[in-house]
């Protein structure tokens, strides 16, 4: 663990203030609320991956008991409401903008994936709505289907959208093609891999849910929603659906049961819930069932990649060249094209000093669920490519993978990469050293021999990842085609009795913001943590926000809070100066919650100043405004760059192919930590999702576009007995992009773990590559097709 302690509470492992309600069953998740007059919505979803809707007969459903309304794509179109589309504008090599494809929330004329919403039923009970869905008759004319990216780009492949010939959304390029070709021409070794980054279903334990209220008299909507980004989605939902101007739309998220990226988008169900509330003038609630979530939550990953690494005779990396086909699914989700492009390719050089990089990313429509950000979002895909390439290079050129990494690592900071990012402050060698020491890297041959004596095949693998976090610097995001800068707001209101309200646009959904933000402000004002309250998740409260994505809440959200704390102290000093009769604010000192006039024993506690400022009486004859509140917006100059070294040891049973994680060591550099206990918990969760991707989880479609892994019975969720006890260490170099020196920790585990596991298995089996997930069946087949 880090020994970094920044304040009395900030930097220490304080127990979480939000725990109390959850351990007593007193949380308030979206489905927990039933409004007066509540109605319930259920959807008819397409059973076909690609079909024309010839006719829809809703008459029996409309006549069913309890049914208030049945809505179809025609109703949505007749209402003149807007389409969903991607909020990111990438460009093809030719300079053409990406092809959007029309995305009506209720399918109109054609369905393009199994799960595409065809109709919505609103009824007085959940069961009545579901029963009535079964009474809707739809006549479909089935069409040919493209499921896999490699099939979807073939000549003659079924076309999903008229505006996207060849199903190509964008063919985006990154880096310097000529320099990269020159690097490869000069290479003595070129390592080539063709690999798949397997498709994931995020599966937050709380499924998505919406509950919309429409105030007809005022024309106002309130959408209760399980989301990671209420403020951002308020703007976006208003702009896209055009159902309500932004000032007439309020989004409220109380407790949110995980998201992992999947709750950061505008979904069809959100638009339909608002539409349904308007049409019925009743509160309309939709709670996603798990099997429905598999067919409607944006999936993650799903890349096909051909990757090449050029080395000289000494093992120096000269260049990286990558071509990826990224599956977008049937429609573009909110940040679909951002993920495989800008959030991935600039990190293809990893922790290494590589002078040339060139990436081409073709985003491709297929007849599958839309794909978008999932924990790490693009950065796990990049780390997987480079870390697999390095191990394949070590394997093919007969080098030690650890040594090959060490010799190519960047050692001087700041460092601007060939991909255009500036890593501000990192220490890669130390992470590698500490992780190697913790797992006893040098002692591995003895453990391998001991395992062999037991009939097991042991392997060791490492990954050294780096990610760009703290979304984000508006200047850089804008240069990438972003339409809105992801800066963050904060407001602090000091109440008359000394209580402190912090408002943020970040959205706690398990990360412990209520604790960490209160820790910071408690230190800043010298008040107990229980006098500080974090308020979030309601667009009627904070002024602006970009939610919790991209490990931004600490680096950016707390950065905004830090600025506001400074403003509050400055204002308070002015109030104290007048109260204590000082000539200037410079005569007022503030420490440990007490303001003193320099050179005197005159002092006021923070709470006393809160009263004086808010009461306003004693400062009424000065030029000081009454009140003690302030607001700030923080827009960082750069990303933050968490990095780490993960080392995994596996034991494989050659008779069954079962891969057992024998040991797993993590060393992360998250800069300064707000709460080490929470940070370690984030790592545990991320590592398990990463190992889940590497060993267990996979999203499987058959050739007709039916989802075969559509429930927890079929999609292997990681469980407690799949894992050993992880050993987690920290080595922090402070970030320079925010006043706290924090880098963000939410995504790291899911980035660093997959290549570490796969590298351990390829090491064990003495092979250059095997695609995830490394199921027993696949590993057994590999063992039996090689001499391993």
């Amino acid at each position: 663990m880090s020994d970094q302690v920044l304040g009395k509470t900030f930097g220490t492992p304080v127990r979480r203030v939000e725990d109390s309600r959850f351990i007593q069953g007193a949380g308030n998740f979206t489905d927990d609320v039933i409004h007066p007059g509540q109605t319930y919505m259920a959807f008819l979803r397409s059973p076909h991956a690609h079909a024309d809707i010839v006719s829809i007969d809703t008459s029996a459903a409309e006549a069913a008991a309890g049914v208030r309304k049945v809505l179809t794509g025609q109703d949505y179109a007749d209402a003149g409401l807007g389409m969903l589309f991607c909020g990111w504008g990438s460009q093809s090599q030719s300079g053409e903008p990406q092809k959007m494809g029309a995305y009506p929330p209720l399918a109109h004329g054609r369905v393009r994936y199994v799960g595409n919403i065809v109709a919505a039923v609103i009824a007085d009970s959940r069961d009545q709505a579901k029963d009535a869905v079964d009474l809707i008759e739809v006549d479909y004319k089935e069409l040919p289907v493209a499921v896999d990216v490699l099939d979807a780009v073939k000549d003659g492949a079924p076309q999903l959208h008229d505006d996207a010939p060849g199903n190509l959304v964008v063919d985006w390029v990154h880096g310097d093609k000529d320099a990269t070709e020159a690097a490869f021409a000069a290479a003595s070794d070129v390592v080539t891999l063709e690999l798949r980054n397997n498709r994931m279903v995020p599966n937050a334990m709380e499924t998505r849910a919406t509950n919309a209220l429409y105030n007809h008299g005022r024309g106002e909507f309130t959408l209760h929603i399980s989301t990671q980004n209420p403020h951002g989605l308020k703007t976006f939902t208003s702009v896209l659906t055009q159902i309500a101007p932004e000032h007439k739309l309020r989004l409220v998220a109380d407790d949110v049961g995980g998201g992992f990226g999947s709750k950061a988008f505008v979904y069809a169900e959100d638009a339909i819930t608002l539409f349904a509330a308007r049409e019925t003038r009743r509160p309309v609630k939709w709670t996603c069932e798990r099997s429905e979530a598999f067919l409607s939550d944006a999936h993650g990953r799903d890349h096909w990649t051909k990757a090449e690494l050029a080395l000289n005779a000494e093992g120096k990396f000269l260049g990286v060249r990558v071509h990826t086909l990224a599956n977008m699914g049937a429609y573009l989700s909110t940040s679909a094209t951002l993920v495989p492009t800008y959030m991935s390719a600039p990190l293809l050089t990893g922790q290494y000093d590589i002078a040339a990089v060139h990436g081409q990313v073709d985003c491709v429509f297929t007849n599958t669920v839309p794909v978008d950000a999932y924990r790490g979002a693009g950065r796990p895909e990049a780390a997987y490519v480079i870390e697999r390439l390095v191990d394949a290079a070590a394997f093919q050129t007969g080098r030690d993978p650890s040594q090959l990494r060490r010799q190519n690592m960047i050692t001087q900071f700041p460092h601007t990469t060939a991909g255009g990012l500036t890593y501000d402050n990192c220490d890669f060698h130390t992470l590698l050293d500490k992780a190697s020491e913790a797992i006893d890297y040098a002692g591995f041959p003895a453990r391998k021999a001991e395992a062999k004596a037991r009939g097991k095949i042991r392997g060791i693998g490492m990954s050294t990842y780096i990610e760009a976090c703290g979304f984000g610097p508006s200047k850089i995001i804008g240069s990438w085609g972003g339409q809105a800068g992801p800066w963050e707001s904060s407001e602090i209101r000091v109440l008359p009795t000394g209580g402190v309200e912090i408002h943020t646009g970040c959205m706690n959904h398990g990360q412990g913001h209520e604790t960490v933000f209160a820790q910071y402000v408690s230190d800043a004002f010298g008040v107990p943590m229980d006098q500080v309250e974090l308020l979030y998740g309601d667009t009627d409260r904070g002024q602006h926000g970009n939610g919790t994505v991209g490990s931004r809440s600490g680096p950016v959200g707390l950065g905004a809070v830090a600025m506001t704390c400074t403003k509050i102290i400055t204002k308070a000093k002015t109030v104290v100066r007048h109260t204590l009769g000082a000539e200037s604010d410079d005569e007022i000192e503030f420490a440990d919650g007490v303001f003193t006039r320099t050179g005197t024993n005159l002092a006021l506690k923070f709470a006393e100043v809160a009263w004086i400022a808010n009461a306003g009486i004693t400062i009424a004859d000065t030029d000081v405004e009454p009140g003690l509140h302030a607001a700030s917006n923080f827009d960082p100059e750069n990303f933050t760059f968490p990095s780490g070294c993960y080392i995994c040891e596996v034991e494989i049973d050659p008779d069954t192919g079962v891969v057992d994680i024998a040991d797993f060591v993590v060393f992360d550099d998250f800069g300064n930590l707000g709460n080490p206990m929470i940070v370690e918990g984030q790592v545990h969760g991320g590592v398990v999702q990463g190992i889940g991707q590497a060993l267990l989880e996979n999203t499987v479609y058959d050739e007709t576009g039916q989802l075969l892994s559509g429930s927890f019975m079929d999609y292997t969720m990681p469980r407690a007995d799949n894992f050993p006890h992880f050993r987690v260490g920290m080595h922090g170099t402070p970030a320079t992009a925010n006043p706290m020196g924090m880098k963000g920790c939410g995504e790291a585990g899911a980035i660093g773990a997959p290549p570490a596991v796969v590298n351990a298995v390829t090491n064990a089996l003495n092979i250059d590559h095997i695609d995830m997930p490394l199921t027993a069946e696949k590993v057994w087949a590999k063992i039996n097709s090689t001499s391993a």
Binding site: G25, G27, D31, E206, D255, R290, Q682, S711, F723
Partner: protein, 153 residues
């Protein structure tokens, strides 16, 4: 039809449809929303409650089957004044993040210690096979249950 049962010590009689699941009776009619629904295939364990002292997935039991039963939900686990030691242990060990799986985890864990008072780590991990958490990676949940066992929960 009517069903009569005792929930957290309170006698309840409710009019239900025969197809009503116990979890929906608890959540929608008795408004005990601490018991959650995380899946529809009896896999995730977010809905675990105690029926006559034994852990049960309340999504896998008809409300009608609970006729005459004593049901304890997460809301009824503490004595009202103090947290149950398992609740305390989950917070102390940081065994929860988003909190959605937590009630089911705690109800499963208390049932585990009723049957096996001092489980080792491997036993705890195997016993959690029916409860899915997507946030914590399980490590601190295992730690919480160990902590509670050591405290004699």
């Amino acid at each position: 039809m009517k069903v009569s049962l005792t929930v957290n010590g309170q006698a309840e009689t409710q009019e239900i449809e025969p197809r009503t699941l116990l979890v929906h009776l608890l959540r929608d009619q008795l408004r005990l929303t601490g018991t959650h629904v995380g899946c529809d295939t009896s896999q995730c364990g977010a809905c675990v409650v105690h029926v006559d002292g034994v852990a049960v997935k309340s999504c896998t039991m008809l409300a009608a089957q609970a006729e005459g039963a004593e049901v304890t939900t997460i809301e009824g686990l503490s004595d009202g004044a103090n947290l149950h030691p398992m609740q305390e242990a989950f917070s102390k060990a940081h065994g929860l993040q988003c909190g959605f799986c937590t009630p089911g985890m705690i109800m499963t864990a208390t049932d585990l210690l009723r049957r096996i008072p001092n489980p080792d780590e491997e036993t705890i991990r195997k016993e959690l096979e029916g409860n899915i958490c997507r946030c914590t990676g399980y490590q601190n949940i295992v730690k919480a249950i160990k902590t509670a066992a050591e405290a004699g929960a």
